[in-house]
Symmetry: C2
Subunit: 583 residues, 2 copies
């Protein structure tokens, strides 16, 4: 049998456009013989559709689109069938009233063939808000499998191994049910967002299921950035022995067709279909592509996140403030890779406290990237605000209020330019800053997207070091960046972090070294540890209590932060739901 893994990039909520995209994938893959095109979870909607699922008109739109898709297939690719992710009404008036379901769409019509059994409602996921769990395992009722039994699962249905995933949902084990029914191949239609270490985890979970079933697993993941989530694709086929026989690229759309054959065709008529082997669908199969290293995965995911956020929101150009520091340098590189350096503008906004080096470093970075900059000194505006405010305050603003004011002058200038020029302003703050509140609301937090808001400062350093390493050359070239020589530059990478909001200020005046801070933050945020637990584990008591206090008190800032591209297990944003007025 022929099967195509369609790693597609949908636009959330654009059911009509997504249906057209699904059809195009089917037409492109068509070879005039029976072919099953497997698409990601909720592929008609794009994942996550969030509260668009509550719109009755969109639910009603689905049936017509699926009918249309069937008749389009009949005209344009009558031997191709599509396995499409849909939101199926349960028919009940009690809430929730949808299933996260799969429809088999073919020239002769469409039908629902499976309903997701494990509905994630943790972290960024809210599926119990919209969906009722299905209760039955299912084998694909498709007549062209050559006798093979294809088991169906959707995303979380595969995440049943607590030892591997670190958690599992209360509920049935969908793999166990298929195990007892017997399948020759397991399909998993996913929308699994990027995270560091996630590629290996997905493979391990699929390999475990393949071993339990004694059958290979075909894992098809969504690709593309949707607000804070970046879906990285990297779909694959894995054998019961754990060997990977197909690997689709990371962070790019791709459709790959495979020919599946029973390993022992002589035994094909028995009641139990034999194990499947995968055969190349083309005469000369390409070798399995290596997956990128973790730094490259991270970089590509951030680039895709920015590119898709801009494209899907209708922006061609981006703007950012260049401070000469490492955070804005990294965001500039990401933006240049995402949109093209000629579509990214940098604004230098020096104050009397800015170091000379910072201005020259920012300028040199922009030159390396071939990115245009402007410089707008803010001293005059600082004085103008001081003059305006002094009569009310009795004196010009001082301390944190004066530092915040500088940041807000910059934020206001950036927004004025972005508004006037129709650009997407990118926020450049990192996760360590967002965590402890070392950032200014309505100032440096301004922007449509917080590009590196889920990268601890130490991660920013590591990623920039990789970017400047020759090992990144191929990736840089592929993404349209200068391929050789330093990009961030040693001057930026090695300077002591500073907000430069008062003379000779250094981050280390207010915060512990990032090498000490970041592991504590990670334990508090991603593992929900308490200060007491950290202290028991050897962290300095005053430090642990202080960082916890900072984390808690900055909640009001984070509530008003732009969407943060998620790359860790727990990012600030929709997966972090903390009260503000609380203890």
């Amino acid at each position: 049998m022929l099967i195509a893994l369609a790693q597609l990039n949908p636009l959330v909520g654009d059911l009509t456009g997504n249906a057209a995209h699904l059809l195009q994938a089917a037409v492109d893959a068509n070879r005039g013989e029976p072919l099953l095109v497997v698409t990601p979870e909720l592929s008609l909607w794009g994942y996550p559709p969030r509260d668009l699922l509550l719109r009755p008109s969109l639910i009603a739109l689905q049936n017509g689109l699926l009918d249309q898709l069937a008749s389009d297939l009949q005209r344009q690719a009558p031997q191709v069938s599509l396995l499409v992710g849909i939101a199926e009404p349960t028919g009940s008036s009690a809430l929730p009233n949808l299933h996260n379901a799969l429809a088999l769409v073919a020239a002769d019509g469409w039908r629902v063939v499976y309903r997701k059994q494990l509905l994630p409602s943790y972290d960024v996921f809210d599926e119990r808000r919209y969906f009722v769990a299905g209760t039955a395992a299912a084998v694909l009722p498709w007549p062209h499998t050559g006798g093979l039994r294809l088991g169906l699962t959707i995303c979380e249905d595969l995440w049943v191994d607590e030892a591997l995933a670190g958690q599992r949902l209360a509920g049935p084990d969908p793999i166990a049910a298929l195990q007892s029914q017997g399948v020759d191949l397991l399909l998993n239609l996913s929308a699994s967002p990027f995270g560091l270490g996630k590629l290996a985890l997905r493979r391990q979970l699929a390999a475990r299921a393949a071993a339990r079933l004694g059958a290979p697993v075909v894992y098809v993941n969504q690709v593309g950035g949707n607000d804070e989530l970046v879906f990285d694709g990297a779909s694959f086929m894995i054998q019961p022995d754990g060997s990977l026989t197909t690997q689709l690229p990371h962070c790019r759309e791709r459709v790959v067709t495979l020919a599946l054959q029973p390993r022992d065709t002589a035994a094909n008529n028995g009641p139990q279909a034999p194990p499947v082997v995968e055969a190349p669908a083309r005469a000369h199969p390409a070798p399995l592509p290596d997956l990128p290293c973790e730094q490259e995965q991270l970089f590509r995911a951030l680039v895709l996140g920015v590119a898709d956020y801009a494209r899907k929101c209708g922006f061609k150009q981006a703007l950012l403030g260049l401070s000469g520091g490492i955070d804005s340098a990294l965001v500039a590189v990401i933006a240049a890779a995402a949109l093209g350096a000629d579509q990214v503008k940098g604004l230098l906004l020096p104050s009397p406290w800015s170091s000379e080096g910072s201005i020259s470093d920012a300028t040199a970075l922009a030159q390396r990237l071939a990115m245009a900059t402007h410089t707008l000194p803010i001293a005059t505006l600082m004085q103008a605000f001081d003059h305006s405010l002094a009569p009310v305050l009795g004196a010009p603003p001082s301390g944190l209020a004066a530092e915040n004011l500088q940041s807000r002058i910059r934020g206001t200038l950036l927004m004025a330019l972005a508004n006037q020029q129709g650009q997407l302003l990118l926020a450049t703050g990192n996760k360590s800053e967002l965590a402890v509140g070392y950032c200014t609301l309505y100032g440096d937090m301004n922007g449509g997207l917080a590009v590196i808001g889920d990268l601890y400062k130490t991660t920013v350093f590591a990623l920039c070091e990789w970017l400047d390493d020759p090992a990144a050359g191929v990736c840089r070239r592929e993404l349209g960046l200068p391929a050789s020589g330093p990009l961030i530059g040693a001057a930026i990478r090695h300077k002591a972090p500073s907000a430069e909001l008062r003379p000779d200020q250094k981050d280390s005046d207010s915060l512990p070294d990032y090498a000490i801070l970041d592991p504590v933050l990670k334990a508090l945020i991603e593992d929900h540890r308490s200060p007491e637990q950290l202290i028991a584990g050897g962290t300095d008591a005053a430090l642990a209590e202080r960082i916890m206090g900072l984390l808690r008190r900055a909640e009001f800032k984070r509530r008003q932060a732009p969407p943060v591209l998620k790359v860790s297990r727990r990012a600030f944003g929709s997966g972090w739901r903390m009260p503000i007025a609380a203890r």
Copy 2:
């Protein structure tokens, strides 16, 4: 038997403080004879605890606090038992791993007596994220009921009547299970946020359950503002015939003790306990207090929301911009009632486009409220920004960019003063503006709390009209406001809405009249209608499409808005989860 309805105001996440508050309620209510004190849902945590429930250290803290509470009762009020809302670990490692449960705490120890069966995961509620549903009805195992059987439910367990509530959750009907077991009284421990029309709905649902069970219902609701949610208390007891026999106040803490007696004491030894009647626990019962009218409910809820957000975040003073318009006038009145007029500062920020009337109207309002103001003209700063930006843009900012710039100058001035003076900045935008994006991110949207962000402009008008009506005199006096004479004033109430961001600008230049806009917005937001449905219902097609487009395109602004005090069925905030990069 004696029962106390303890309508308490917890601090979310402050388990230790909340336990002390529970103990105090028990000690205060103690009369030296057996007494059951009924508290709100999750009363040990405060509702909603949100992701604090994911902290293992807080879960672990509970047991010790409940042990302590039992031993404190033994020492201080040994005949009092407390029914406390807790998060009970299921003991499973599969997620979620908690029950939303009730513990009966008495001098001799504590035990879990019920687990919530219907877990709301719609709108602002996320209970499936944290909790597994209980599966069994329960009658309170308390030895001092005089033979009465007390059925236990938690909040949503009572919301099983779809015809009344407009929706119901898929799952069991907890009332039906109790009906078959037979109870003499139903307890419902709630944390039900304020909403217009919600008081009547709660009563209807309770009355319906009382009728089905042939037994009265005691409904105990949380009170207090927790971030965007205002819990309005208004606990009550209702009889099977629908008559209300106890009513606690709206938006205030209160503990009321009732004596419950079997109606026919002669039949009290039979296998089926007889119906309950309520007797006054004091010699001279107070008459049932009238509940306030809808405008007063709304006003009191907003006042409580501001008062508690400030108090629970540690602010004593608030600051707001006074434009002379009706929105900031209303917020000023709410803030004065919440914090005292002497703790609220108004800032007038006139531009060259501000009308003379606006300045005098704002000043007159402040005088009526006895609230201090300062005036900071922004013309100089506008010019300074124009001078800074012109070299980059080739000309000073124009159009929307120039309008936004004015708003951001004001927002920056307000934040500078609030930061320097340790004040809570209150945002003054209304729901109509937030819906269509007629507001400036990092400008007039600035603030820790969007006080009237869930009030359509037409609701703002209506509430201000009520405030100026003599009918509001008693409420105004009770809340420390001037009791007589206009407060908002006719000049402010009757002027045409204007952002005054360019000469002679009126809202009606850009938007339909609010009387036309608001019903369309309500249908789109609260009923999730589509433009097509509105057009089919008679709305002008171009208008419906245009408003839908504005609503969709403003999503990125709302994502960065402060918490909005929720008063409607669907507010922007945690109950509105729309993608940004979507169609």
